[in-house]
């Protein structure tokens, strides 16, 4: 479903801050794969996601979504096949617009927009139903501004928006990192539920090793812009945090350096 062929990405080329963010990264996701992506600070996890979604162009290599080469396509042209949830709950929704208006924008993702009404009554009924499944009481606040919602509510809404039209790829970029532990758990479970129900091909960045092991069918660890571990199937099911730290040490020759990952 997603094929990443040897992509490299360098930032601030020619300046003192030049940084090789990705080095020859290749990765193939089959339909329905749910990959958890873990790694230390600056490992290139978010850069990889941003290259897939088109926020950054790549210096080398190519990206194919469902067989279509999207390497040169701009961010909004790729959006039709990609659902995204960001780390910052403010990023995924338009704060000054209503809940239903945000959903209506997401409902038209990947379609050309015309001078038809931005939202229809039939849609409203559907949105109300979807929102009631979130169990956050949002179904009675369809026209409320999203800016009035809490971080967790906004993240749940963003998740709903990302999956409203079935995305070929779902990209979750540390989407629970800014939430309190209880809300984070709820949003994570909701994500897992949507992914399972829709058999969604997913790439989820997390800083939480327990979550990375607990969720998904495949775990990938990145370090200094490269993929250093790729664990799947039964092997992943037997994995523990200690195993993971140990294997990280062997492959990279360093101690895993991410306070947040170790503490949680």
């Amino acid at each position: 479903m997603l094929t990443i062929n040897g992509i490299s990405k360098k930032f601030n080329i020619g300046t003192i801050n030049e940084k090789q963010a990705l080095t020859n990264v290749s990765l193939t996701l089959e339909e329905g794969d749910f990959i958890t992506l873990i790694g230390g600070n600056g490992a290139g996890k978010s850069t990889l996601l941003n290259c897939v979604s088109g926020v950054h162009g790549v210096d080398q290599g190519s990206i194919l979504i469902d067989g279509l080469d999207v390497t040169k396509l701009s961010e909004h042209r790729r959006a039709g096949s990609i659902g995204r949830v960001f780390q910052d709950p403010m990023m995924g929704t338009a704060a000054n617009m209503g809940i239903e208006e945000n959903l209506a924008l997401a409902f038209r993702r990947g379609q050309s927009r015309s001078l038809k009404w931005g939202i229809t009554n039939k849609e409203r009924e559907r949105y109300r139903e979807y929102l009631s499944q979130l169990d956050l009481g949002l179904e009675n606040r369809l026209s409320s501004k999203v800016g009035l919602l809490s971080g967790g509510q906004r993240q749940a809404l963003t998740l709903l928006m990302a999956t409203l039209i079935r995305p070929k790829i779902l990209l979750l970029d540390e989407h629970t990192a800014a939430l309190d532990p209880k809300t984070a758990e709820k949003v994570l479970q909701l994500s897992d539920q949507y992914i399972k129900e829709g058999n969604l091909t997913t790439l989820m960045v997390t800083h939480n090793m327990v979550n990375a092991i607990q969720y998904g069918n495949r775990l990938i660890m990145m370090h200094e812009g490269r993929i250093i571990l790729d664990i799947r199937g039964e092997e992943k099911q037997r994995l523990t945090v200690e195993d993971l730290l140990c294997r990280f040490g062997k492959v990279s020759g360093e101690v895993f350096a991410n306070d947040r990952a170790l503490l949680s």
Binding site: S53, S74, E75, H76, R77, A79, G80, I82, R84, F86, M90, M91, G92, T93, A94, A95, N96, M97, E101, A104, L105, A106, R108, R109, G110, Q111, R113, S114, L115, K116, W117, G118, I119, M161
Partner: protein, 297 residues
């Protein structure tokens, strides 16, 4: 006094068209677009020179609208395609328009005395000039408010609002944010130029200088409207812009009546806008102050 009031209302109604244009860029797109200073004079220049050469005033005003749209397109392209910051793009267009407007008119100002204007038809029904302007201004404003209320409810209109609100989110939803910014600037500058055309006809002359300070007047009207008449939903917002523009004109008429020299008007407006824009800062100082007073009690 009544005559002054009627004059202020008629002028306010015409400026309301411009205020709505400023609102589109300043509030909806979150861009301070200075090209409007050039496009208002451009609208006046186009309408005046076309009417002077014998064209139907309604056709001339429509062409002025399209001229303004062109100016907005240039600012939009400078900003989105050439990546020039929005503020600077607007300034560049504004400066270029100064020369263009001189070329359109062939001189610095053009008189329309005794020419047929869009208001002449209404005056033929026996209305005096300011009543005719009020009637036609009301028609224009109603039309503009109606069309924009519809437009910003459509898929494209929603996409423009999303772009101004959170462009990252808009792109993630497949919206071509660059095109939406250009479209917003085109609509805004079109309305501003239409306003220029209507003002030139109502005052019977077009002047290449008439745009100076117009962005500040537009902002003042937007803010007065928001503060006094609320921003509950989109329709009340549009209405508040019209009332804001009229209120601004009434305030100006009153301070002039009270004896303020007309030359000080622009400074008066600038200070008003500066105070209005800095209100949130004062409020953030005041709120802890109020709390500490309450705490002591």
């Amino acid at each position: 006094m009544l005559q002054i009031l009627l004059g202020a209302i008629s002028l306010g109604l015409l400026w309301a068209v411009m205020t709505i244009g400023v609102y589109i860029t300043y509030r909806i797109l979150d861009i301070a677009d200075l090209s409007v200073e050039g496009s208002i004079a451009m609208g006046a220049a186009i309408a005046a020179s076309l009417i002077y050469s014998g064209m139907n005033p309604f056709a001339a005003s429509s062409i002025a609208l399209f001229g303004g749209m062109g100016a907005g397109l240039v600012t939009g392209l400078l900003h989105t395609k050439l990546k020039i910051p929005a503020l600077l793009s607007g300034i560049l267009t504004m400066i270029a328009l100064y020369s263009i407007n001189l070329r359109i008119m062939g001189k610095a100002n053009l008189s329309l005395l005794r020419m047929d204007t869009v208001y002449t038809k209404f005056e033929e029904f026996g209305l005096n000039h300011s009543s005719a302007v009020i009637l036609f201004g009301l028609l224009c404003v109603t039309g503009v408010v109606g069309i924009l209320y519809w437009f910003f409810g459509t898929e494209i209109g929603s996409a423009i609002r999303a772009t101004g609100n959170n462009s990252q989110m808009a792109r993630a939803q497949g919206i071509n944010t660059n095109n939406m910014i250009i479209l917003g600037l085109v609509i805004s500058n079109g309305l501003v130029a239409l306003c220029g055309a209507l003002i030139a006809q109502s005052q019977s002359f077009a002047d290449v200088q008439m745009g100076i300070g117009s962005i500040v007047i537009g902002l003042a009207s937007v803010i007065i409207g928001e503060v006094l008449f609320g921003k509950k939903n989109f329709f009340t917002r549009l209405l508040s812009l019209v009332l804001g523009a009229i209120t601004y004109r009434i305030i100006i008429a009153l301070v002039l009546k009270m004896g303020m020299p007309a030359n000080d008007l622009k400074m008066f407006t600038a200070i008003t806008v500066a105070i209005a824009l800095s209100l949130p800062v004062f409020r953030s100082y005041l709120i802890p102050f109020k709390k500490s007073i309450k705490g002591e009690l």
